[in-house]
Amino acid sequence: MSVNTTTTADSPASATKGVSLPAPAAATGNAKIMRTAGVILLAIGVAAPFLSGNFLIFQLTMMMIYAIAILGLNILTGINGQFSLGHGAFYAVGAYTAAIMMDQFGVGYLWTLPMAGIICFMVGFLFGLPALRLDGVYLALATFALAVVTPQLFKLSPFEHWTSGVMGIVISKPDAPFGLPLNPDQWLYFLTFAIGLLAYVCARNLVGSRTGRALMAIRDNPIAARSMGVNTALFKSLAFGVSALYTGVAGALGAIVVQYISPDSFHFALSVALVVGLVVGGVGWLPGALFGGAFIMFVPNIAEELSKGLSGAVYGVIMILMMYAIPTGLGGLLKAALGALSKRSMTR
């Protein structure tokens, strides 16, 4: 598998495994397309809250939150090749960190975000240690077990003093700061938007750096990587930590936006949804996280419109059809399409 090299530093297609772009000219062309698409999206993103009702703003905010969580998962699975069917657990830890800090200790909501990130990083790193010994299906099993057990862990009575157990924690929605003329929904939207952008930029930089290349080397051929001097153990645990950090921050944001959390909010279906979002967006393709977030946010609603009694079945069918159509997700599709385009431009 040839390693991609491109002349432009900000082409998202450069950081992922897959179709190699044949020549610098084609690469610039693709980068231009991606960049214009990005700018258009940005413009839509900024304008949206002023043109839609509060409910849609709320949904878009949740979509971005899921996208950030999926971004985290992508770093672990797409870039570093470690499966996780249990990322809902880190989302939950982030959410509870934020909620407990706000509810029990009266901490301002903005401070909860970095705290959630730090705590989740530590939890993720710690989980990454035993995970070092696990691969493929075994890791999937271990993380699957983690996902199923997560609600239970937050119900445990010794912790009830902080977590309020089954009753859950209610949080107040913050108002826009500095008296900005935004209602709380709009403000949270922009906050999430800004954090999402920041997260994406950091992720891309991470992936393009030496650390990123080390992570990818571990994904592609761990034994070779180790024999070349890459400290696999450290990097794999770090990947878990960073991945958990992202998802934890998403969880904290989620808690603030929904204003209520309880153990039932983190049922194993959440972990499953994150994996689905990851695959649909494109494993290893960072911008795909947004598409993945949109998929898991809106497609179940579409399924419900089509049939209330069989909404689960409709959703399942859509999922399976997507896998037939684009097994490598939107990311894979775009790469193939761009690859085909550039090939055509080469033969001219």
Binding site: I44, S52, G53, F58, Q152, D264
Partner: protein, 409 residues
Amino acid sequence: MHKRRNMLKYMGAGLVLSAGLALPAISHAADMPGVTDTEIKLGNIAPYSGPASAYSTIAKTISAYFDKVNEEGGINGRKVNFLSYDDGYSPPKAVEQARKLVESDEVLLIFQSLGTPSNSAIEKYMNMKKVPQLLVATGATKFGNPKEAPWTMGWQPNYQSEGIIYGRWITSEMPDAKIGVMYQNDDFGKDVLAGLKAGLGDKADSMIVAEASYEVSEPVVDSQVVKLKASGANVFINIATPKFAAQAIKKAHEIGWDATQIVANVSTSVAAVLTPAGLEASTGVISTGYLKDMQDPQWADDPAKKDWEAFMDKYYPDGNKASNFTVYGYSVAQTMVHILTQAGDDLTRENVLKQAASMKDVTLPLFLPGMSMNTSETDYFPIEQMQLMKFDGERWVNFGEVISGEVGG
């Protein structure tokens, strides 16, 4: 230069595209949202998917009932448009659906939203938006608090009341009892247990010799039943939902545990609980009730039962007649109809809430005889009475009086 111009071009395109997101402004009837001269829009959130899907029968029954009401002319000339959305028993989804109902569909109110987590999740929002959250489908005692959540009201007897009734009965009938309690480890189980201890008063600690909880995620509760029997208890309090209650009744019988058994009110269905557990195993089990069990032969000739059956046959033929969720759904829908009828043409949210909070001795056809609903500005628990009953192997036989299990505040 060239690049920047292109940038601006694309941004402009983006802004134009996003204009497509702008929703057309929906004109309110500013004082009576969800109401027109011909229609009333009601919202509901229920678990059509996920771990609690069994309860979706209630919402389906309610929907069928409104079909009947509409066919018979509606409420004060207005037809009911019943919008029910799935939350999969997930609180974030419940919040999303509540916001959709209130902000996008602009319903008059949300009623019978199901489950403590879902209702807890939307309570703050509903009260902030001043939208009635009525007749919530959970007995959690926290949902009857007019001081802190004036727009939220329950319907079914709350779990603590039930526990209190059991506690008081035991202290008066079996003051030397040794009690073993099995309870579901969530708000429901813990609430009933709290009520039980309150009903036992000072003697709670001495009378309860063993407690065993179980999680909804466990496949069987055999281990808990065995543990309780080994503690020497002669009274077994089975605070469980149908599947687990049935398992426990069956196991207690299998291991020959000779104890007086009390089972929670949510698990009294002859068809859904006692038959799977075994009618012989269930003989002698005590519980409380407030609705008639349609499988009970004593109501075979009751006109109210015949009405219900006719309703099921015509409007909800796929419905499971053996499930008492259908009786529950039927009755709660009737309550809603009563409240709306009382409101007349003044269908503002404030007035509808006021009507809900001023029910005086309102009875329903499928209530056990002697029961009625009462609410006031300080009393947000419509049904507080229950009737003790014992299963004789074939049917539930009432004994004693209709008891009130009032919880303070």
